[in-house]
């Protein structure tokens, strides 16, 4: 049996936490996808060596406190306005890596106009889009992305498409815009999925320096608290219900 000394011996380490992510205790619920995506972002920023050149734009929603966890410069935007805020940052500081980090309420409801027009202008930014089909921060209300029949606190009997409309697939919509160079849909519920998402986010950040236009990485995510499920059940539910509607893979890559 190995001793503590063996375990902490640098030669035996198999994993090291990125130094871009600090030790502030996260406010995210256990099982939430946000923490994984934050960690991926921190790793990429460290691996690319761009901590000094990266500016993040946080949304209103669960990730409103993203600036507490990753040691880069951040701006916290008004609800839905992150792409407008990021537009100005990137235009004024074109040699910086500028990304937004938004949920589905932020990006697909209140910020639809800012999202579509930043993408249509082809702003050289990366948009990280966490889609869990629900408003998590405010306690589990229906989002534009809520699936048909899916329960939320404002659709307690399940989303009725006749009454409450259809699930909005923003990525499919954004693919059509000439200003957009890269749209991909990923998830972080398995080791393999995490690796793919990491590659996608890195590519989106790299694209932002190539004057190719806007990159969008949608991460289909769980909200076990809002969904009223255990983390494990949430992953299964996501695979069975979210993926058929929000299919994973690249939607556009030019």
């Amino acid at each position: 049996m190995s001793s503590i000394q063996d375990i902490v011996d640098p030669a035996n380490l198999v994993y090291e936490k990125t130094t871009v992510m600090n030790d502030t205790p996260m406010h995210y619920c256990p099982g939430c996808s946000h923490g994984v995506v934050h960690k991926i972002l921190g790793e990429i920023i460290q691996e690319m060596g761009i901590q000094e050149k990266t500016i993040g734009v946080a949304p209103v929603g669960c990730a409103v406190f993203a600036y507490k966890y990753l040691d880069i410069d951040w701006q916290q935007a008004a609800h839905g306005r992150a792409p407008a805020v990021a537009t100005a940052i990137k235009r004024l500081l074109p040699d910086r890596y500028v990304f937004t980090y938004q949920g589905d309420g932020d990006l697909a409801a209140i910020g639809t106009a800012e999202t579509i027009h930043a993408c249509s202008r082809g702003e050289n930014i990366a948009i990280i889009y966490i889609n869990n089909g629900i408003y998590g921060m405010t306690g589990g209300q229906m989002a534009p992305t809520t699936l048909p029949g899916m329960k939320s606190t404002t659709s307690p009997n399940g989303r009725d498409q006749q009454l409450e409309g259809h699930a909005l697939d923003m990525s499919k919509l954004l693919v059509q815009l000439d200003g957009v160079c890269y749209v991909t849909r990923q998830s972080v519920h398995t080791v393999g999925a995490v690796r793919k998402t990491k590659k996608a986010i890195r590519k989106a950040l790299e694209n932002s320096m190539l004057n190719k236009g806007t990159s969008i990485v949608e991460v289909v995510s769980t909200c076990n608290s809002g969904w009223r499920m255990s983390p494990a059940d949430s992953n299964t539910w996501m695979e069975e219900n979210m993926f058929p509607v929000y299919g994973l893979g690249d939607l556009k890559d030019i």
Binding site: Y67, D73, A78, A88, I89, L93
Partner: protein, 362 residues
Amino acid sequence: MTKHSEEITLMKGNEAVAHAAVRCGCDGYFGYPITPQSEILETLMEIEPWKTTGMVVLQAESEVASINMVYGGAGCGKKVMTTSSSPGVSLMQEGVSYMAGAELPGVIVNVMRGGPGLGTIQPSQADYFQAVKGGGHGDYRMPVLAPASVQEMADFTVLAFDLAFKYLTPTMILADGIIGQMMEKVILPPFRPRRTEDEIREQCPWATLGKTPERDPNYISSLELRSEEMEKINLRLQARYREIEKHEVRYEEIQCDDAEYIFVAFGTMARVCQKAVELARAEGIKAGLLRPVTLFPYPTQRVSVLAQTVKGFLSVEMSAGQMVEDVRLAVSGTVPVEFYGRMGGIVPSPSEVLNALKTKFL
């Protein structure tokens, strides 16, 4: 202004804002077309400052986007601005409140038109309450400058940036459709170079230019969920507003020394009242004009001093009577304060204003 270039040119107030912005080292302009101020964006697009000073000019998809672009640019310590007219400025109020909360400098120009709603494209001063009393949510104020000439449109563009950065606050130029549209001679401000990034890092250590190893991350936010901390932020903001009130009051007096009746008016109405003073004096009526140049901070102290020697004030506005409330607060019941105004885009004539003075007081 300290030193102007000597060249006198003829242009609209809106054009003067555009030229002054480029000259004072503005880093970015973000705007959306709306009458009667679209010439500002049009002028900037025509003179293409990105080819000379490197200033960014972008037509946004809405006023909501414009003000949030200003937020983003200001968060990087850059000198950024937007311009609009009343309905568009209503849309910006969320962003202005966020800027006030995040303590971000930036300039907003409102070339007012008549409301409510879509109203009219003709001039108005009916956004006084919105500009001076808050407009957006939460306890905040911002410096509000009221130009009364094309020259002041240029000068105040420079001054507004200086105030914004001095007090880390959004700052508004509250003009009206006439000031924006009329042509007058103007001496444009001298060129100031845009600040370098090193200068910004030094002057705005809070700016999000990228985290360097020697400092902690910077973040721009108006959020603080702990009540005690949030109250501290509020108290800090309030203390700053008191400083602004102490140091930044600006006004102009015309023939107030021996005046028995004083018109109080800003912007276009001050120009009209200046003529009304002349007409009154010709008739032997001792009239004067107090023109607040800053609407926040308001020249409250000066009004209360004048109240000790005059028989009455007439607040003249292109509105249903908004600034008159601040005159009454300053006078505090010691002498009569009357109001005369027109709405819907109508600009009262000097004789109409003089008649109002006679009707109310003589």
